[in-house]
């Protein structure tokens, strides 16, 4: 019997357990996130104009090219990482964080900062301590504060105008840009106007900035889709909303004429985008269950303080970067107890 060589064939010893895998992949998760961004982008195009699409295309191409180039330089497998969609997610988030009428070179520069600076210089996907999109946003707002505060005006959605703003190079922009809700609120409050009269201005809609609140709703829808598909955890969005909302509530209850309502805060700026798409970035967020809560609450609180007292109208990006810094510490101190070490051991 032993004479039959086929029976005693030596098989590949590298094939070890488990021999089955759940049909999941990084690529699938990333493309789910891209899909979830579509409602927000649709609302953007509808309310603000199609100019953002130009930037999205530009950013995507830059991101893929930069990613491929750096991977090649670092002698890493190119194809598998470029096609995993992570560079596209970063690019889209950068575009959504920047004003949609910034000149083309600024978009390209921001994406390069995100992909090359914030991601690959730290060791590539999985190794970067800072959220690439937020790092790029902060770099841009510090380097080009003027360009970064020119947001498209509501009601002027003409694509040709936006196309010229993005690619034309000249910035004859009076009447084409407007203040965002956060900006208007900040300027108004600094000028000692009370919240109610600021809110009555044309820049405001139902709860937040006119037009912008629809985009926030779009991101909320996309976020709920991500939650439903279990692509993201509920912990960061919920605790971010609680962190920002609760801080805002406390001050709003104390002095409603000086501090806008929590609903205003949540519907304005990048709150919804951050809650579901930025804070849930697995690489730069905390990884432990309790850590995720602490991380997102922290971002919410910092965001409120920067928005209210800081030099910049939007504070989420700074909140994210600051909390990114704390992640190793949070992770260390919230390491869950292992089986047999947990407190509720006794029945």
């Amino acid at each position: 019997m032993a004479a039959q060589p086929r029976r005693n064939r030596v098989s590949d010893p590298d094939m070890s357990s488990p021999h089955i895998r759940k049909p999941v992949s990084v690529q699938r998760e990333m493309f789910t996130v891209l899909l979830a961004l579509v409602p927000g982008i649709t609302a953007y195009v509808w309310q603000i104009g199609a100019g953002i699409l130009v930037n999205l295309v530009l950013a995507s191409l830059t991101a893929l090219a930069a990613e491929a180039l750096v991977l090649k330089l670092r002698a890493r497998p190119v194809a598998i990482t470029v096609t995993d969609g992570s560079a596209l997610v970063t690019a889209w988030l950068v575009v959504l964080a920047l004003p949609s009428i910034v000149p083309w070179w600024l978009t390209v520069l921001a994406v390069l900062v995100a992909i090359v600076g914030a991601k690959h210089l730290y060791g590539g996907i999985g190794q970067n301590p800072f959220n690439p999109a937020m790092a790029a946003y902060c770099a841009m707002i510090v380097a080009y504060p003027a360009l970064m505060s020119q947001w498209p005006a509501i009601g002027n959605t003409d694509f040709t105008t936006q196309w010229h703003l993005i690619l034309g190079g000249e910035r004859a922009i009076d009447g084409l840009t407007g203040a965002t809700a956060l900006d208007a609120m900040r300027t108004g409050l600094r000028g000692h106007t009370d919240v109610t009269s600021i809110l009555s201005s044309s820049a405001f809609g139902f709860v937040g900035g006119r037009g912008w609140e629809w985009i926030a709703l779009g991101h909320l829808l996309g976020g709920l889709f991500l939650l439903a598909t279990r692509t993201i955890s509920w912990r960061q969005p919920l605790s971010f909303i609680i962190g920002l909302g609760l801080t805002a509530s406390v001050f709003w209850l104390i002095a409603p004429e000086r501090f806008p309502s929590p609903l205003f805060h949540l519907a304005s700026g990048g709150a919804m985008l951050a809650a579901f798409f930025i804070l849930t970035d697995p690489v730069t967020s905390s990884t432990t269950p309790r850590g995720k809560l602490i991380f997102a609450v922290g971002v919410g609180i910092i965001a409120w303080f920067v928005r209210t007292f800081g030099a910049y109208p939007e504070g989420i990006a700074f909140g994210v970067l600051l909390m990114n810094l704390c992640v190793p510490l949070i992770d260390r101190s919230t390491q869950p107890a292992t089986f047999g070490q947990r407190k509720e051991k006794r029945p």
Binding site: S16, P18, E29, G340, K345
Partner: protein, 528 residues
């Protein structure tokens, strides 16, 4: 009876069960193979000592290897025939290493040795335990821990593990459907041995027929005093892991450095309970077991397989379909690729899977970890596999120990859910075996250090004693001289001392400078 309160363990996964492929056919016998190679080591704790020689005629169930030491378990001839060889045969182990095995050529008669059932009413506890050991009973769920050790502890709750959570495997399911009476009898014997107050039989809810069959038997003899209950547990891998099932049924969490008996709990597989009944009530030693053969084969099902049957014989019997690339022993989540198909079925082999690339696709290429934390959510012991992965990959073993790598049960949940397709368990197994090797080296080094120091101290002491003896001798000689002649001059005296000093010096110079303790001139002395 009130519904028992069940507990949860963290994590877990719910892969496709694939049990129907093999679970719908009754347990079938296997035709006698041409050769049976029974390995001497069939328990995790000890070995057997061969008591037959080549050429001996043996009967089915005859002891061919006696239990060695307290932890050893006996092995028996799986059929009647002749011992043709005692030599090295491949082991059912991922390493593919050889081990000593007794090879028996069946005579085809299947003649049993005289079976001696124990009289359960009169047999003492010690007799029963001895019989469990002499019948070669070890845990049949996979760990192969000697059952007589587990059965010899005093506990409160006895758990019979019929969860069988791993996909594709159905041998325990079939056993419970067809031989529920024997299992319950075995459970009663184990309850008597352990003095348990209650017996909980845990079965996953995807095996309704097994639950019904077991409940029927338990209810039919409910009036025997003790409490035996069949408990349906939710289907979630790895509920069938001993620690996980104990957690689900009793709420106790047992860490890797603890014993379940110190919590008053002991867990036996249904197959083990069945084997205990066969051995004690019917006098049949463990010579066969039920094995699921499934996967890419024409005739999947459960088979009563004689121990020592080559895996290749089983695959041949069930006819592997084209496209079979490799063969797994155990389930798809914890089983290993058999390096050699002439490895034998042992007491802990529960499943053989013929694997094709369509049923079990090879792992996609590993991608960088994105710290998504899916692995941590799925880990049934609450570990952070991605942290363990960073440490293991960097060969930072201290880091791996810090993140409690010893608690990892290698269940494979983390690698199952990983979107980056990282072979996490491979990294953990690598790190664990390196850590184990390092600990062994550390122990050996400590022992060597102690022995070296003891030896150095002894040589020092010998030298000191010798010097003292010489001085004493010199003094004695001088005293004798003084007493005898009383005319010894100072010069004479000095000469004697000088001679003694010269002797000592000659000794120390003869020593090689590198290893100063080797007394070159000292006479050789026996040492232990």
């Amino acid at each position: 009876m009130s519904l028992p309160h069940l507990f949860r363990f963290p994590g877990g996964i719910q892969p496709d069960a694939h049990k129907k492929e093999s679970s719908e056919q009754p347990i079938r016998p296997v035709p006698l193979p041409a050769r049976l190679a029974v390995p001497l080591v069939q328990s995790s704790q000890g070995s057997a000592r061969t008591i037959v020689t080549v050429g001996d005629k043996v009967l089915k169930g005859q002891c061919i290897g006696e239990a060695e030491g307290n932890a050893g378990t006996a092995i028996h001839a799986p059929t009647s025939g002749r011992v043709t060889e005692i030599g090295r045969y491949p082991m059912a182990h991922p390493s593919g290493l050889d081990t000593l095995a007794i090879v028996i050529e069946p005579d085809g008669e299947e003649r049993w040795i005289a079976r001696e059932p124990l009289d359960m009413a009169s047999a003492s506890h010690e007799e029963l335990i001895l019989r469990v050991q002499a019948s070669g009973i070890v845990g049949m769920g996979g760990a192969a821990f000697p059952s007589h050790i587990k059965a010899n502890s005093k506990i409160d709750t006895l758990i019979i593990n019929g969860a069988e959570c791993e996909p594709w495997i159905s041998c325990d399911d079939r056993l419970m459907r067809e031989r529920s009476a024997d299992i319950v009898t075995g459970a009663r014997i184990l309850r008597r041995l352990t003095g348990a107050r209650r017996v909980l039989i845990g079965i996953e809810d995807n095996k309704p027929e097994a639950i019904t069959a077991m409940k029927l038997v338990v209810q039919a003899a409910a009036d025997d005093g003790g409490e035996i209950s069949v408990i349906t547990v939710p289907t979630r891998y790895p509920t069938g892991g001993q620690k996980q099932l104990i957690r689900v049924l009793t709420g106790f969490e047992i860490a890797s450095n603890q014993r379940s008996s110190s919590f008053g709990v002991q867990c036996f597989n249904v197959g083990t309970a069945h084997a205990v009944c066969r051995a004690l009530v019917h006098g049949e030693a463990m010579v066969s077991r039920v094995v699921t053969v499934t996967g890419n084969v024409e005739h999947p099902g459960n088979y009563e397989v004689l121990l020592g049957t080559a895996v290749a014989d089983l695959i041949e019997l069930c006819v592997a379909k084209p496209g079979t690339e490799r063969t797994l022993m155990g389930g798809p989540l914890m089983g290993f690729t058999l390096p050699r198909l002439d490895a034998p079925i042992t007491k802990s082999s529960n499943c053989i899977i013929a694997a094709s690339n369509t049923l079990f696709p090879p792992a996609p290429p590993e991608q960088p970890c994105i710290r998504c934390g899916s692995c941590a959510q799925s880990c049934p012991t609450g570990l952070l596999p991605f942290e363990l992965y960073w440490s293991s990959r960097a060969k930072n073993y201290d880091g791996a120990v810090h993140y409690n790598i010893s608690e990892c049960i290698e269940c494979g949940c983390c690698a199952y859910v990983c979107p980056a397709h990282i072979p996490l368990v491979d990294y953990f197994r690598f790190a664990k075996s390196e850590i184990r090797a390092r600990n062994q080296e550390k122990r050996a080094a400590d022992q060597a250090r102690a022995r070296f120091e003891a030896r150095s101290a002894r040589l020092e002491r010998d030298k000191a004693e010798k010097a003292a003896r010489l001085t004493a001798k010199a003094a004695e000689t001088r005293a004798a001289l003084a007493a005898n002649k009383d005319a010894a001059t100072d010069a004479n005296d000095a000469a004697l001392i000088a001679a003694a000093v010269a002797r000592t010096q000659a000794q120390s110079q003869a020593q090689p400078p590198a290893s100063g303790q080797n007394g070159g001139a000292t006479p050789p002395e026996p040492s232990i």
